[in-house]
Structure formats: structure tokens, C-alpha cells
Symmetry: C2
Subunit: 307 residues, 2 copies
């Protein structure tokens, strides 16, 4: 692209030295080269920039404003280079993560804090989406990575994080509240289950459980957030089906709610860190996955299923 950056450098060298020969020395070319390139620059810009003569080289008024702007262009380029260089080692820059809304708010704040402490230049931009949107965003490049169930997004590469248990929550006066032991599917027979709206992973799990246990899944009271269905459960309209991490973080401390783990092979959710196989951020993913696992390790063990 004309003018060339090099031509601008030449112009500045002449501006600073006031003499072609000295300027040529400074930019490590011969004086004729400089002369030719400056002529070309003037031709391209359609303006006389330099007044030549025995006195050396003097800038014209236009030459002065061009030189000033040239300085700025070169400065910007230097900044670009150093910005690129800053990302050389370790984690840095803005990495975009997609996360299921049933994990993100309860796991990521702490994990981000942990990562930020170790890598101050690192910024994780999180956006909550449902499984289908995460898959699409990952494919298109809207996300660099995502936290979701690996089996739902087969196109991506997965780094397994942990397997959540699934819990059922009821009002304290509910018959289920009589025990704290894990419930069997038989205990749920005929009951009404509450879950998030269509498209959410927890809803998909609740659907499978509902089919197995022969109970209905509420479509009348579809919640939009886990907090919403938790609060519905406290009123006794049904049983909230909640994932382990959320249950430990939010439901356990609610005195108006009783929680019991569901004891069944299908009542689990394997969460992984997902990314495109072609992504060059492999090292970063390992570090981030570690941070997420460490954060998860801080939760009560009941939140997870061993292995």
C-alpha cells in the first residue's frame, strides 16, 4: 500500500536530520535510495513535501503536517507490535468463553479470580448461552471455548472437568423432606418436576428422569433461572430438579427448602471445557481447565459424582 511505512520513516529521518546524506546514514540506506523514495512519496501524495537545495532539506508546510502524521502512524505500528508481543508467554488478552447459565454464575467468578491472580494480563469474557448456542458460537468462532456437556457438542474437542450430581428440592413440609438420603426414582413417581425452559441442559436431564420415574415435567411453570424454580419449589407447587454445584451454593442454605440427591445413573451431568480442535490456545485451555477443577474442588463433595 502506498505510501509505504518505510517511506514515512525516510521522511522523518530527513525531518530530523535536515539533510539527505545524514538521513540515509540513519536509516541504513544510500542517499540515492532515499532520494528516489521521497520523490515517489511526493508523487503518491500529490504534494511537495521537501524543499531541496544547497542548504539541505527543508520541509514545506504540507511536509510538516505529513511528517507529524507519519510519526503517529509509525507510533501506532510500534504499539501494534508490542501488543502482539505481550501475548507471547502464558495467558493474556481477552479470551471469550461461553458457559451454561446453570454453571457459569456459580463456578466462574471464583475461577476467574484465581486465574487473574496468576496471570494479571488475562481477561476472560463470559457469556451465558444454552447448549445449542454454545455449539454454534464455538463453530463460528464467537467463543474461544465453552463449558458444557461434551456429548452434546461432538464437533468440539473436550477436556473433562467434573461430573455433577443432580438434586431434587422440595418444600420442608413435603413428604420427601422426611429423609436426607438420596432419593430413588420410585420416590418421585407421580410427582411434578420443575425445571428451566426448553433448550437448557438441566431441562433435558429432568426430562429423562421424568420419563424414567413416570412423573410429569412442568411446562406450566417453566422457569428462566435456577433461582426461579428453586423459589417455586419452596411454595410446594412441585419438585425442583437442580444441578449439584448450584444446589451446594444456593439451595443448601435456603431454610425453606429440603434437598436430596437423586440416586440414578442418569441423574448426572458431565461438564467439560470445550474448544475447537484447530484452536491454537491448547496451552491456555489446560491452565483454565485446571483453575476450574481447583475451584470445583472447593465445593462440598456431594456436588459431584466420583469418576
Amino acid at each position: 500500500m502506498r505510501p509505504t511505512l518505510r517511506q514515512l520513516q525516510y521522511l522523518l529521518a530527513i525531518t530530523d536530520t535536515g539533510r539527505y546524506a545524514d538521513a540515509a546514514l540513519r536509516v541504513n540506506v544510500t542517499q540515492p535510495t532515499l532520494s528516489e523514495q521521497i520523490n515517489q512519496l511526493e508523487l503518491e501524495l500529490g504534494a511537495r513535501l521537501i524543499e531541496r537545495g544547497r542548504h539541505g532539506a527543508i520541509l514545506t508546510p504540507i511536509g510538516r503536517v505529513v511528517a507529524e502524521r507519519a510519526r503517529r502512524v509509525l507510533q501506532d505500528m510500534e504499539e501494534l507490535k508490542s501488543a502482539a508481543r505481550s501475548g507471547e508467554d502464558g495467558l493474556s488478552g481477552r479470551v471469550r468463553m461461553g458457559a451454561l447459565p446453570s454453571v457459569g454464575p456459580y463456578l466462574l467468578p471464583e475461577a476467574i479470580k484465581r486465574l487473574h491472580a496468576a496471570y494479571p494480563d488475562f481477561r476472560l469474557m463470559v457469556r451465558e448461552e444454552r447448549t445449542a448456542e454454545l455449539a454454534a458460537g464455538l463453530a463460528e468462532g464467537t467463543f474461544d471455548m465453552a463449558i458444557a456437556t461434551a456429548s452434546d457438542i461432538s464437533a468440539a474437542q473436550a477436556d473433562h472437568l467434573f461430573t455433577e450430581s443432580v438434586w431434587v428440592c422440595s418444600a420442608p413440609n413435603d413428604p420427601l423432606a422426611a429423609s436426607r438420603e438420596p432419593v430413588t426414582l420410585a420416590d418421585l413417581a407421580g410427582r411434578e418436576l420443575l425445571s428451566l425452559g426448553r433448550g437448557h441442559k438441566v431441562t433435558a436431564i429432568a426430562q429423562v428422569i421424568a420419563a424414567e420415574a413416570d412423573c410429569r415435567l412442568s411446562s406450566e411453570y417453566e422457569g428462566t433461572s435456577l433461582d426461579a424454580i428453586r423459589l417455586m419449589a419452596t411454595t410446594g407447587v412441585g419438585l425442583a430438579v437442580l444441578p449439584g454445584i448450584y444446589t451446594m451454593r444456593e439451595a443448601l442454605r435456603d431454610p425453606d427448602l429440603m434437598v436430596r440427591r437423586i440416586d440414578h445413573p442418569v441423574a448426572r451431568r458431565e461438564l467439560s471445557l470445550l474448544f475447537r480442535a484447530s484452536s491454537p490456545l491448547a496451552d491456555s485451555f489446560a491452565v483454565i481447565a485446571d483453575a476450574l477443577r481447583q475451584t470445583a474442588a472447593g465445593f462440598p463433595p456431594q456436588a459431584f459424582v466420583r469418576n
Copy 2:
């Protein structure tokens, strides 16, 4: 200079289209060229910018910040180009003028106003200096032009503007105040003349007159501005020697001062617009000189010597 502006353009084309082939089309090169240049860009910056694959081209986090900065660099370059183009026709930009302090304040404000009305993009930067500094500044390129006496700065090319008459001013009770006719040198014999400090053109003229008329030039009360020596003259300590334009603009309306023209071939000052012969601003100089002459034409004719 690496990276090249063209490489940045290529990066942006890929950023916008998300596909090498489409990007190549947009920047009018073939896909392999693009591929090679981007590889080189990555090598130069030492960072992976693009994640390639069947899905097309997706930017890495570092790639995103580099692309953002690239946009800025190219934008700055566009601005540089249009800045250069803006000076193509007529007067524009910041032209630096040097002027004798005995002309500048009394002639230039009006001339600048006139020029600015005709050429809105034009800015004249004026700096007042004595003859020697004007000569040096013109040679070094500190000034694009100067208003001074051509014969004093022979190295420069001159465009004659006008020839000022020289006046002598006295207190109203001075014997010289008896008439309004031009004074001869005989009238000044034995008197004390007041002028600016050493190095000023008006002082040089006063010195010649003092030598011819056999009178002293005050070194005890050397003024630094024409206003200062005018005020000294009103106190009766001596006769102020003042140039025509200043006399018309400032001295004439002072009721405590009588002014008379000096009638002698040496009592004149030829002022020219001076510039380096090599300066490419020849067209501009003609326009500026015209504006100065027109401004001068607005003064009373006594300020000047015909021819």
C-alpha cells in the same frame, strides 16, 4: 518496514470475511498470496493471529487486538493522505512568516484577516524578529518567508511590497512642531534622535540619518518597542524616528505628539516579501504579497514613498 501496511490490510480483509478466498477477492490478490503474507505477518509478530480450518478463518484473542490496532494504523494513514491532498489547491496549512517588529503588528493583522477570508484553510504563523534573525531563519527553514528589507538579506529572493517613508516625532512644544511640512536634515542638526535597540532595521536607518544630519542617536534610552520610543518623545527627551506605517497607525492619533516626514533620500525603507529561491511556495507568495500590498493601500499615502 515489517509488518507491511498491506499485510495489515490482508488481516482485516480476513477478519471481515472470515475466509481466505473471499478476502483475497476483496483485496485483489490470489488466495495463496494472502496465505503467504499472513504466515509472514504471524512470523514477524511472533504470535498466532488466525486459527485456520475447514470452518474458514477465525481470529485468536491476540489476532483480535492486532486487527483492532491495524484498523487504527490504516485509518491514520488515510488521514495522512487526505491531509496531504487538502493542500493541493490554493493557500492552506500553516505557513510560517517572520516579520520585523516595526511592520508586523501594524500591517499583518489586517492582511491575515483578508487572506483567511479568501482561503479558510490557510494559517499564517507570525513571529517577530530582527533582520539578522530573519535572515538566519529563512536560510535554516525556520521561516517560509519574511517581511524585511531585501538588500539586507541578499541570499533570499524578494518580491517588493512598498517603500515606507520615515518620520520624526516630537513633543508638541518642540520647535520642530511649528510646521507640518517635511523636515530637512538641517532641521535636525544637533538634536538627539531616539530609536529601537541595536539590530533593528529602523535603528540602522536612524543611524544613517544621524550621521548625515550631524546629530546624536540616543543609546541611553534605547527602546524595545516603537510605542516605547514614541512615549519617550512625548516627554521631550528627544526626537523619535519612526517608520511610515507605524506613524500613520499609532503616532498620528496621539495628541501629545507632532509628526513630520523626513525629506531625504536615505529616509526610506523598502520592504519586500522574502523567501528562499528554492521554495516551492511561489504561487502562495504572490497571493500573500498581493494581500499585503492591498492592506498597505488602505493606509494614508504619506506612509509611503512613490516608486
